[in-house]
């Protein structure tokens, strides 16, 4: 794809003006970093508040008589049981129990469900969802909206100065409200492991709201580079890397994304495999690795047992700036996925010791109670 074919988010001009290095990502021209660079942006987010443009992600409404019931045909989470004002993580499944995408679904108001999907997956997702809903409900893309994420320990104080209601929300609350003078959908969530918010606003107002938030000295714009290292340290899997159509939610350690009522009913795509895996019949599982020596192990590096036999692969890896060392996510047979187990990662042909550690690598700071 040439640069000319790339789509632009409503914040493209703001990124360029701020000195961002723009790269192709999910069909969009997106900021990978600003002038401070990935390391400083990462640490700023962990210490203050980082502002991310995630407008490349897909936003949609699912409307109908019982939109959650129809939607549940293709997703694993319990959305009929999702209370008003709440949001829940789920996965879109294929018939073999593999993950087609992971997504967030909220009930911010009475207007059906509000869904946020990955940018690179959105066309396929909407087609699958529309087919599942046919005759019962509809999926409507919200192409005229932008999505900002404000993440970090000072995010709550920053946002509350503009939107007092934000301070009353806890992790995974989602509300449709008037904020910055426009209709907004705000959830207390994100993908950095920090406390923070995702803020859906009309595209026409996105740049104004972006600049308003940046006027606060606690806030800096943060690019995709730091977004990736932050989510890796938080032990959060990324679609297209740690998750794909061959990986089941149970292999990925996302058991919580398969609702209790759904497990009992077994009424979702791929239920046969997922039910077996929930009972312990698993070929591989996701592990977190602390690389003890040498270079960071990147995506694609082999994972070996203590004797050097290859047992799995790294699916995401790099340097964790807050962790202070090389970290990786990968998949290995369950017998090796024991915290404290020493494995090896093979980087450019050289085996290096790696320790299986608990998730997350860096403690998360979600605000679950006020």
């Amino acid at each position: 794809m040439s640069t000319d074919d790339l789509k632009k988010t409503p914040l493209f001009d703001a990124h360029v003006a701020a000195g961002a290095r723009m790269v192709p990502f999910a069909g969009y021209s997106m900021p990978v970093q600003y002038k401070d660079g990935v390391l400083k942006e990462h640490l700023w987010t962990r210490e203050h508040a980082g502002l991310f443009d995630v407008s490349h992600m897909g936003q949609a409404r699912i409307r109908g008589e019982n939109p959650a019931r129809s939607f549940e045909k293709v997703v694993s989470a319990d959305y009929q049981g999702l209370k008003a004002g709440k949001q829940r993580y789920g996965v879109l499944l294929n018939a073999a129990g593999g993950i087609v995408d992971d997504l967030m679904t909220a009930r911010p108001d009475d207007d059906g469900l509000f869904v946020v999907v990955n940018g690179a997956c959105k066309d396929n997702d909407y087609a699958i969802i529309a087919a599942a809903l046919e005759g019962e409900a509809t999926v409507t893309r919200l192409e005229d909206r932008a999505l900002l994420a404000l993440q970090g320990p000072q995010a709550a104080a920053v946002l509350a100065a503009h939107v007092p209601e934000a301070a009353e929300m806890v992790f995974m609350d989602a509300r449709a409200l008037t904020a910055f003078g426009v209709d907004a959908i705000i959830s207390r969530s994100g993908y950095t492991g920090e406390d923070g918010y995702e803020i859906s606003v009309p595209a026409s107002d996105a740049a104004r709201i972006w600049n308003t938030l940046l006027e606060d000295e606690r806030v800096k714009p943060i690019g995709l580079g730091a977004r990736d290292s932050l989510r890796l340290e938080a032990g959060l899997p990324l679609y297209g890397h740690d998750l794909d159509e061959t990986v089941s939610p149970i292999e990925a350690g996302l058991n919580f994304a398969v609702g209790k009522s759904r497990r009992e009913a077994g009424d979702f795509l791929g239920a046969e495999r997922i039910t077996k895996e929930l009972a312990g019949d698993l070929a591989r599982v996701r592990v977190n690795l602390k690389v003890l020596e040498g270079a960071p192990a990147r995506e694609g590096a082999d994972i070996a047992d203590a004797e050097g036999n290859v047992i799995g692969k790294v699916t995401s890896g790099g340097f964790g700036p807050s962790f202070g060392g090389a970290i990786a996510i990968g998949f290995v047979p369950p017998a090796f996925a024991v915290v404290g187990e020493t494995l090896k990662v093979i980087v450019r042909g050289k085996p290096a010791a790696a320790l299986v550690v608990a998730s997350p690598f860096v403690p998360t700071r979600y605000v679950r109670k006020l």
């Binding site: 390391l39 290292s229 040498g294 270079a295 960071p296 990147r298 340097f319 700036p321 450019r348």
Partner: protein, 121 residues
């Protein structure tokens, strides 16, 4: 000092060439968090992989601008990889090579030619 189109530099004293990456390359890489330097005694040809530089996000190969035998590697980069960003054309060097074909050095760009090359990027 001489330069390659892959943004390595070479500084020659006698028959020993010190090799590093340019300020431009260091800026493009971003924050360097790990450097893999070659082992002393290794022989490399021009264009062979000499070192690996890793930023938070990615690993990048550094190629030998000239042929030779590694006589010294910069061990300080193991504890202070950020030196590559701070002093790319001084303390952030990777290796010293004993030249096996000194004529290769003369064929590389001088600083003016390299600056002119950068202006085309």
């Amino acid at each position: 000092m001489r330069f390659t189109k892959d943004h390595e530099w070479v500084a020659v004293e006698g028959d020993i060439a010190t090799v590093g990456i340019t300020a431009y390359a260091a800026e493009q890489l971003g924050d360097v968090v790990f450097v893999e330097v070659p082992e002393v005694g290794k022989t490399v040809g021009q264009g062979d992989q000499l070192a690996v530089v890793e930023s938070v996000k990615a690993a990048s190969d550094v190629y030998a601008p000239v042929s030779g035998e590694v006589v010294e590697a910069n061990a300080e980069l193991a504890d202070a990889p950020e030196t590559v960003n701070a002093l790319p054309e001084a303390g952030g060097w990777f290796a010293k090579l004993k030249l096996s074909n000194p004529a290769e050095v003369d064929a590389l760009m001088d600083r003016d030619a390299y600056e002119a090359f950068l202006s085309t990027l």
